[in-house]
């Protein structure tokens, strides 16, 4: 029962983070939401008994992609795009 509740919360969190990471007007906030979504996705893979995919998701999907997106964001700010850092 408690696992079922955990899974439901996980799925709801994933869906809401996915939705907000593409719709949030603040770029930095949507990047952070994307990274958190990747981490929770790793938890979801672990719950699905796929620890290999969970490891890869946590390392590549969340960690390195997050670092790449953040550095692209920092570069975008430097060239003064909209939504960049103030």
């Amino acid at each position: 029962m408690i696992q079922f509740i955990f899974d439901c919360v996980l799925v709801l969190l994933l869906l809401s983070l996915a939705w907000r990471s593409v719709t949030d007007p603040d770029l930095l906030r949507s990047i952070v939401q994307f990274i958190i979504m990747g981490l929770l996705m790793a938890v979801a893979w672990a719950r699905l008994n796929a620890p290999d995919v969970a490891l890869a998701e946590a390392a590549v999907g969340s960690g390195l992609t997050g670092a790449l997106v953040l550095s692209a964001w920092a570069r975008g700010c430097r060239s003064g795009r909209k939504g960049g850092p103030k």
Binding site: A59, G63, L64
Partner: protein, 230 residues
Amino acid sequence: MRRIWLLLFTIGLPLFLIAPALMKLPRSSPNLTAPSVEALPQSGVSNPVTAVLLNYRGYDTLLEVGVLLLVVIAVWSLQESRWRELDASEQRPLLMPFLRLIMPVLVLVSGYLLWIGSSRPGGAFQGGAMIGGAMVMLISAGLSRRFSTSERRVRAGLVVGLTVFMVASVTTLLWSGHILCYRQNSASSWILAIEVAAQISIGVTLGALFLGGRPRTLSPERPKLEVNRD
């Protein structure tokens, strides 16, 4: 409000159309789980995921490693890296000792992930991501100069995975007539060799991607590093 209706419509209509087809699906769909588990003792490794990635479907992994190399070539041809190397006076007093502590641990953990990959979750991609993460830390700490001073070694690291994979492909093609179809007694050695090389390449590739461009050209007193540019 209209957006929500549009969303419900775009999700609901396909669901409504697909649902009847889904109901008619047989309970147990045909899959390759049983044959792949059966062949596991012959694959050279005991972790089914590694067996699929490097033995049963080695061709896919070969192409993946090739794609990673293509990505780096594309990024390097776009621009020079904009990461600045920090002088000793600008470096953070706490960060540097911390990096010195954590780097050997990261390398050790990545080696462990590679080694454990033959029997438990882990493998070249996860281990390579550890190395990539270590490089991300070094670059953001302002230590990107090594990419320029040892550019030849970086390039060797980028291609070693695909090279070893190609050697394995050609050798197995000549031996058995099929690409990446290892003999049973040499399968685990081949897989280990490919994984070590692929892990180095994946790690260096991810680091090079975070660098965001080819390594900076160094000052003119090192002219031999400036060949083959532009």
